[in-house]
Amino acid sequence: QQQVKQSPQSLIVQKGGISIINCAYENTAFDYFPWYQQFPGKGPALLIAIRPDVSEKKEGRFTISFNKSAKQFSLHIMDSQPGDSATYFCAASYSSWGKLQFGAGTQVVVTP
């Protein structure tokens, strides 16, 4: 049973557009929500993370929005670039642990 549900499974966006990936969780004990980016043939790499005491965190073109009452969080990629084409995973854990519950992943393709 997937404790973190991620959608969409894939998306195609034009260069310069906005990519939006959504995740939902059930366990209210989760208190750390990272996003990982994975390129083909590579391991995932931490992109950005948020804790539930803030509603939004921005790092460059990447923004996490967090809705604690709805138990949902999302990743926005602004001004998407072809180099952003990758698989993105949301995740959740307790007490900032490395024991992460991952979503199923979203394959993002940015067309030129």
Binding site: Q2, G41, K42, G43, G98, K99, L100, F102, A104
Partner: protein
């Protein structure tokens, strides 16, 4: 720094064979993990370790064993390989940054097929 190094990169096993996936990190991280990645399923935690001599089960430990004799190495052992163990295996390590954020450093993975 090499980071997290996994060997081999690819392996084909026959049903019932055994093998060890190697993982080494040179960042002096206390925490190490083994995840498996299946298509459309994300990554699932197999085993983890909080330091040399200490290991514990994750979400999907059946059919696997681990050991942690040093801080650097965290091998994953498959006994009696089964087709259900066909997957991509990732080793990772981490330390707590002190700000409450834990950054996992992943290796490049081992693609394993059991036929």
């Amino acid at each position: 720094n090499a980071g997290v190094t996994q060997t081999p990169k690819f392996r084909i096993l026959k049903i019932g064979q055994s093998m060890t996936l190697q993982c080494a990190q040179d960042m002096n991280h206390n925490y190490m993990y083994w995840y498996r990645q299946d298509p459309g399923m994300g990554l699932k935690l197999i085993y983890y370790s909080v330091g040399a001599g200490i290991t514990d089960k994750g979400e999907v430990p059946n059919g696997y064993n681990v050991s942690r004799s040093t801080t650097e190495d965290f091998p994953l052992r498959l006994e009696l390989a089964a087709p259900s163990q066909t997957s991509v295996y990732f080793c990772a390590s981490s330390h707590e940054t002190g700000t409450g954020e834990v950054k996992l450093f992943f290796g490049s993975g081992t693609q394993l097929s059991v036929l």
